[in-house]
């Protein structure tokens, strides 16, 4: 019984971390058809922002929840202005340019911070479930993932910005003809997506630590989750993360962590073959 609870909790935690590490990418891809291959480095930057702020005396929660998203959001706005804006509608080119950006960011952070920035330990302590102990912070992250999805849904569904963003995403030319400035929407969206990546990077830092190359551990999983999810930003990410996270965890528990990872990757390949437009490309097409 305890084991079952702990297993479910672990699945929840795997799903939550997939959601966290892909949500920023999903927003940017879903709204703008831009794949940000520097996404992993955006997360990395979020981690560095949080840790640097913390090491300078900022309250840990403030560092993770405010400083990290703000810093990366600003950085995203600059990147949008300098690079992304010139490549709209050229999916492959944006992928290449952001990949270059990813290399440059790794190099830059290495030069600035070096490789031995001390991390922060996970707050909140641990708690017991029957005979097992688990980090309370992991449960907190599950909560944050759910909160982010719900908040995202509320924003898209009920706010003016959400409405305009959804309309622009479906038909930018028509949105412009109605008076919306699509490039402004894109700029805001990119900044918001970046800020979400920063938030996720900050929140994940206590568990994974930060080194300049940590982005590589995130990007492939995030990329695969988002594409498997398909067009719908939130439900796509949520469904794909749930599916892949559950498969990964179950296979890890049953076999080894490598097989868990391989099972995740194989599942994604099969999924894309069966549903070439992703899960929400076929089902739940009108979802958010």
């Amino acid at each position: 019984m305890d084991y079952l609870v702990i297993l479910l909790l672990q699945i929840g935690s795997a799903v939550a971390s997939l959601v966290l590490m892909s949500i920023g990418l999903a927003v940017i891809f879903g709204m703008m058809r831009v794949i940000n291959l520097a996404h992993g480095e955006f997360l990395m930057l979020g981690g560095y922002a949080a840790i640097t702020a913390f090491n300078h005396g900022v309250n840990l929660w403030l560092a993770m929840v405010v400083v990290a998203p703000l810093a990366v959001g600003l950085f995203g706005a600059v990147v949008e202005r300098l690079v992304i804006r010139h490549l709209y509608g050229r999916l492959i080119d944006t992928m290449l340019a952001t990949w270059g950006l990813s290399l440059a960011m790794i190099g830059f952070v290495t030069v600035v911070f070096g490789n031995t920035v001390s991390g922060i330990s996970a707050p909140l302590g641990s708690l017991s479930i029957g005979a097992y102990r688990t980090g309370a912070y992991e449960i907190f992250l599950i909560g944050v993932a759910v909160l982010l999805l719900v908040a995202g849904w509320l924003v898209l569904r009920f706010t003016r910005y959400g409405l305009i963003a959804r309309g622009t995403m479906q038909n930018p030319a028509m949105a412009a003809a109605l008076g919306t400035n699509p490039s402004a929407v894109y700029a805001v969206t990119f900044a918001v997506g970046s800020a979400l990546s920063g938030l996720a990077g900050g929140l994940l830092a206590p568990l994974s630590g930060v080194v300049p190359t940590i982005g590589a551990a995130y990007i492939a999983k995030a990329f695969i989750t988002v594409i498997s999810g398909g067009a719908a930003i939130l439900s796509g990410t949520a469904i794909a993360a749930t599916l892949l996270g559950a498969i990964n965890t179950l296979a890890t528990f049953a076999f080894t962590s490598v097989l868990g990872e391989v099972a995740l990757l194989v599942a994604a390949v099969v999924l894309l073959r069966l549903l070439p437009q992703g899960i929400t490309g076929r089902f739940f097409r009108r979802a958010l």
Partner: protein
């Protein structure tokens, strides 16, 4: 209200319209009649800003908009009901309208007035735009345009692929708009009957050039009809 002089444009390097000039006064309903491929849609898309003008001037409500971005033209009060309707498929009917109001910087309060004018939409407010029939989409496209409270509406072939009963309804709506609200409208069509029943005056576009103007009641003329449709039995 709208003053177009020597306007040329086209797709990529292929020129489609050549030095088109015409004027529309406030409150006027101008029909532009032309066959397929004569440049009607290109003309409207150039006015809206979706295609760049290669030459000429567009003045609207007192400002030169020939090189303004699309959204700025829309904010100036240029409304557009495009060919093929371009409904946001994933938004509900209500959200399609709210999107328009929001894009124009208006509140949801405008919606009621529009729904009063187009009561048919009230019963389908919650349905996604993508599942509507062609006729319903056309009415929605019109409603969406109205939600931005435009000074001038550009209508691109609203009868295309639409059932006759709905066409009749659209005619009634447009007549009412013209009468009650005094909206200025430019309509491009190849549907003679439709254009005749609505327009104050009718311009003819042929191969990307404005070739003439005729009073709408002449459109009933058998000779002209036969020539236009090409069905005259010589």
């Amino acid at each position: 209200m709208l003053d177009i002089r020597g306007l040329s444009s086209g797709y990529h390097k292929i020129p489609i319209i050549f030095g088109v000039s015409f004027q529309v006064a406030a409150g006027e309903f101008v029909g532009i009649l032309g066959h397929n491929g004569m440049g009607k849609t290109t003309l409207l898309r150039t006015i809206v800003g979706q295609l760049p003008a290669t030459a000429g001037a567009i003045r609207f409500a007192g400002s030169d908009i020939a090189h303004a971005p699309t959204h700025r033209r829309a904010r100036l009060g240029l409304g557009y009901v495009p060919q093929g309707r371009q409904i946001f498929p994933g938004l509900s009917v209500l959200d399609n309208m709210r999107m328009a109001a929001a894009s124009a910087g208006l509140g949801d309060s405008v919606l009621d007035g529009v729904l009063d004018a187009l009561p048919r939409l009230r019963s389908i407010l919650g349905r996604p735009g993508g599942v509507l029939s062609g006729g319903e989409q056309q009415i929605l496209a019109l409603a969406r345009c109205l939600c931005a409270e435009p000074k001038l509406i550009l209508l691109d072939e609203p009868t295309e692929g639409i059932q006759p009963s709905i066409i009749e309804e659209i005619i009634e709506i447009l007549q009412r708009l013209k009468g009650e609200r005094g909206v200025t409208i430019v309509l491009v069509e190849q549907n003679l009957d439709f254009i005749r029943r609505l327009s104050d005056r009718v311009l003819i576009i042929q191969k990307g050039r404005m070739t003439g103007e005729i009073p709408p009641d002449h459109l009933g003329d058998d000779e002209l009809v036969a020539e236009f449709v090409g069905m005259s039995a010589h």
